[in-house]
Amino acid sequence: MTTGGMWSPYVVGALIGVLCWFTFYFSSQKIGASSFYATVAGFIGKAIAPKHTMKLAYYEENPPEVNWGFVFVAATVFGAVLAAIMGGEFALRGMPLMWTQRHGADSFMLYAVVSLLGGALMAFGARLAGGCTSGHGISGTLQLGVSSWITVIFIFLGGALFIRLLY
């Protein structure tokens, strides 16, 4: 396993903490990722069934638009591209090695189902709980929000239980 180009997790964590100061101070925004996917789903919904989509309670309150959170996560992808190229880690890869070592190289169908289902459950859970590992796990807990501490504890509890299905 290559560790080339990686930084200390403590340095990275501290810099993310400082980045939070900036987003709060300059943009009056907290870092979060999950609402991006709800916005994308809203765009698609609006294109296919505009009346139905805009009558859903969630989209009445959070109309899909190119907002701060949307642009932030879109830029996140490109930040990762930049870091991976600079660290010599950029390469097009298929299934993760850890997965194929456990489930075999011919397990793509299972990987696809588990990935899709996992993504769907995450988004559903994040919307219900009001955020994800970024919005609750970092931005919320550092503000000492009770909701965030409850959610992050149950995220790791659920994760530690359900990973036993795969490993």
């Binding site: 990686m6 997790p9 990275v12 964590g13 993310i16 903490g17 980045l19 939070c20 100061w21 709060f24 999950s34 709800a38 994308v40 698609i44 638009e65 701060w68 642009v71 932030f72 996560v73 830029a75 996140t76 992808v77 490109f78 930040g79 870091a83 991976a84 880690e89 950029f90 097009l92 298929g94 993760p96 990987y111 990935s115 289902l117 996992g118 459950l121 988004a123 559903f124 859970g125 919307r127 709980a129 590992t133 919005g135 796990g137 970092i138 550092l142 503000q143 000492l144 929000g145 009770v146 909701s147 504890i153 995220i155 659920g158 994760g159 530690a160 239980l161 299905l165 795969l166 490993y167």
Partner: protein, 182 residues
């Protein structure tokens, strides 16, 4: 959408901050499948190290800015039922996909193209929630609805007291983690 100069400036900030976030997560190694799953298996503590350091540094700065620069907090309301159930469902999905919403975007950026599957799932799951959102608001999201609650307000102590205690606690945990091999 109307683009005022103020709005344009805010979106440009989102570009810069988002680039930094993705860059840092990738450098921290938390866009890697085995690092994320390794954390849930308690074999690799990179995720906890990154998150806890971010929370420690972020907390001190945000409460400083809140007190001395009038910076607004953005607290998500506490809904005990929805926080617990949503957290558990999220955790299940995290374990199955091996990514979270932020790190999935990072995985895609570093070339793990199959993270697209997780991303498609995230979009679909968001819409499924939206379909039921009116119902959830009247049911599960009312269970234990406590509004915008923080630890200091819950404990009836000053913000600074909780920040000080947690600073010591988190520093202790991080020092202990740094002494283990993982």
């Amino acid at each position: 959408m109307e683009m005022t100069p103020a709005k344009t400036k805010k979106l440009l900030q989102a570009v810069v901050f988002g680039l930094c976030f993705g860059f840092l997560l990738q450098k921290g190694g938390v866009g890697k499948y085995h690092v994320l799953e390794g954390q849930l298996l308690f074999q690799d503590f990179t995720v906890v190290k990154v998150m806890l350091t971010a929370v420690l540094v972020g907390m001190i700065g945000i409460y400083f800015l809140h007190k001395y620069a009038d910076t607004k907090l953005h607290i998500v309301p506490t809904k005990i039922g929805a926080n617990i159930v949503g957290g558990l469902i999220f955790g299940a999905g995290f374990a199955l996909s091996g990514y979270c919403p932020g790190t999935g975007a990072v995985a895609l950026g570093q070339g793990d193209v199959l993270a697209t599957l997780c991303i498609v799932g995230l979009v679909a799951g968001s819409y499924i929630y939206a379909e039921g959102s009116r119902y959830f608001k009247k049911t599960i999201e009312t269970w234990g609805d406590k509004g915008k609650l923080t630890l200091p307000s819950l404990l009836h102590v000053k913000n600074g007291a909780v920040v000080a205690v947690l600073t010591l606690l988190f520093t202790g945990i991080l020092v202990a983690l740094s002494k283990t091999s993982n």
